[in-house]
């Protein structure tokens, strides 16, 4: 079996290798790929959309429909992980463990006992020994706001520099994931609950799809941001640029929320307990 697979793969690779001799030279500016469609984007992106970053212009405008479904793909991934992994909270364990936050004493409370939920001094934990490193927690607490700030910059500045909704969204999500790793999942869930991340995820994609529908309602085609020019206060010259910005923000929100949502479910195998 292994031998057969190896032979098949080598034959396949050999055929691919053989066809590579007919490829245009790598990095050749005169290859068909750089001659036919792409010059239009390079030469007209600025006047069509007033966005200097051509990748952003093509991504969110010329091929905006692709990107709408790209966002839908990531949203369905979050939904799929939730759908596959999430287990009900009702199957509660027989006992619960609580740690007194200032002394580190761990309490074990059997089923039926009074739970110190809202005293503010105890925190629920899942196993008797939990590593608790002050340096890591404090460093991450210091770093996280700056990462988030950078993520916002990447989202908003996608018009002029590399970046955009997707990259910024992932960085923002990574910042929250960093918080969840350095502290624990429960603390992170207190700040951004699962429901919030699900709602934000669908809100983000709705902003994108809703912009498309809004363009229809305003009389132009689906995702034709020129229609936004008929809204009060929108300069017709920058209508497309504005449309791209709205869409990028939607993508950013959706990606942030979904990355966090997937992490919540993967790291706790759907139990939403302490996580990593």
């Amino acid at each position: 079996m292994k031998l057969l697979a190896t032979i098949v793969i080598f034959v396949w690779g050999g055929i691919l290798f053989f066809t590579s001799f007919d490829f245009p030279y790598w990095g050749d500016g005169k290859s068909p790929a750089s001659q036919h469609v792409s010059p239009y984007y390079i030469e007209h992106a600025m006047e069509d959309t007033s966005v200097p970053n051509i990748v952003t212009a093509v991504l969110a405008d010329y091929r905006g429909y692709d990107t709408l479904f790209e966002t839908a793909v990531i949203f369905s991934a979050g939904l799929a992980c939730f759908f596959l992994l999430r287990v009900s909270d009702r199957k509660a364990p027989v006992f619960r463990l609580y740690r007194h936050q200032s002394t580190g004493v761990t309490l074990r409370i059997e089923k039926g006992g009074r739970l110190p939920e809202n005293t503010g001094e105890f925190e629920r934990i899942d196993s008797v020994w939990v590593p608790y490193d002050l340096i890591i927690v404090m460093t991450c607490r210091l770093v996280v706001p700056f990462i988030q700030l950078f993520a916002l910059y990447v989202i908003v500045h996608g018009h002029h520099s590399p970046g955009g909704g997707f990259q910024g969204g992932v960085i923002f999500g990574a910042a929250i994931i960093l918080f969840a790793i350095s502290n624990n999942l429960r603390r992170s869930l207190k700040r951004m609950s699962e429901r919030t991340s699900a709602l934000l995820g669908s809100l983000g994609v709705t902003i994108y799809g809703g912009t498309g529908m809004l363009c229809i309602l305003l009389g132009a085609g689906f995702l034709n941001y020129n229609a936004l020019a008929s809204l009060p206060g929108v300069d017709p010259l920058t209508a497309r640029s504005l449309g791209i910005l709205i869409v990028e923000i939607g993508v950013g929100i959706a990606v942030t929320a979904v990355m966090v949502w997937i992490y919540y479910n993967l790291s706790s195998a759907g139990k939403q307990d302490e996580g990593l």
């Binding site: 990095g27 970053n53 990748v55 952003t56 590399p162 970046g163 955009g164 997707f166 990259q167 992932v170 960085i171 999500g173 990574a174 994931i177 790793i181 990355m259 997937i262 992490y263 993967l266 790291s267 706790s268 195998a269 996580g275 990593l276």
Partner: protein
């Protein structure tokens, strides 16, 4: 684009890919996959695909690796091949 440098990075990418699938430890495989993604992102930024490199740095080397580590943490590091 300096092609000598390019070839060095490419061969490191390949070494990382082969190591990631042959190492007998899933956590190690996940981390090596992160290294693979990061080298790949380097390669793409050499080729001028800054947006793609940016995305791969945050997704491939960042979030994907975290997902792998999370999954390995919740399952097992053991592997027989």
């Amino acid at each position: 684009m300096i092609w000598q440098l390019d070839i060095i990075v490419l061969s490191m990418v390949m070494i990382c890919a082969i190591a990631a699938i042959s190492i007998r430890d899933l956590l190690g495989a996940g981390i090596l996959f992160g290294a693979y993604s990061f080298l790949m992102c380097l390669l793409w930024s050499i080729m001028g695909a800054v947006d793609v490199a940016f995305t791969e740095a945050s997704v491939g080397a960042g979030v994907s690796t975290v997902f792998f580590v999370a999954a390995v943490f919740r399952t097992t590091r053991r592997t027989r091949d």
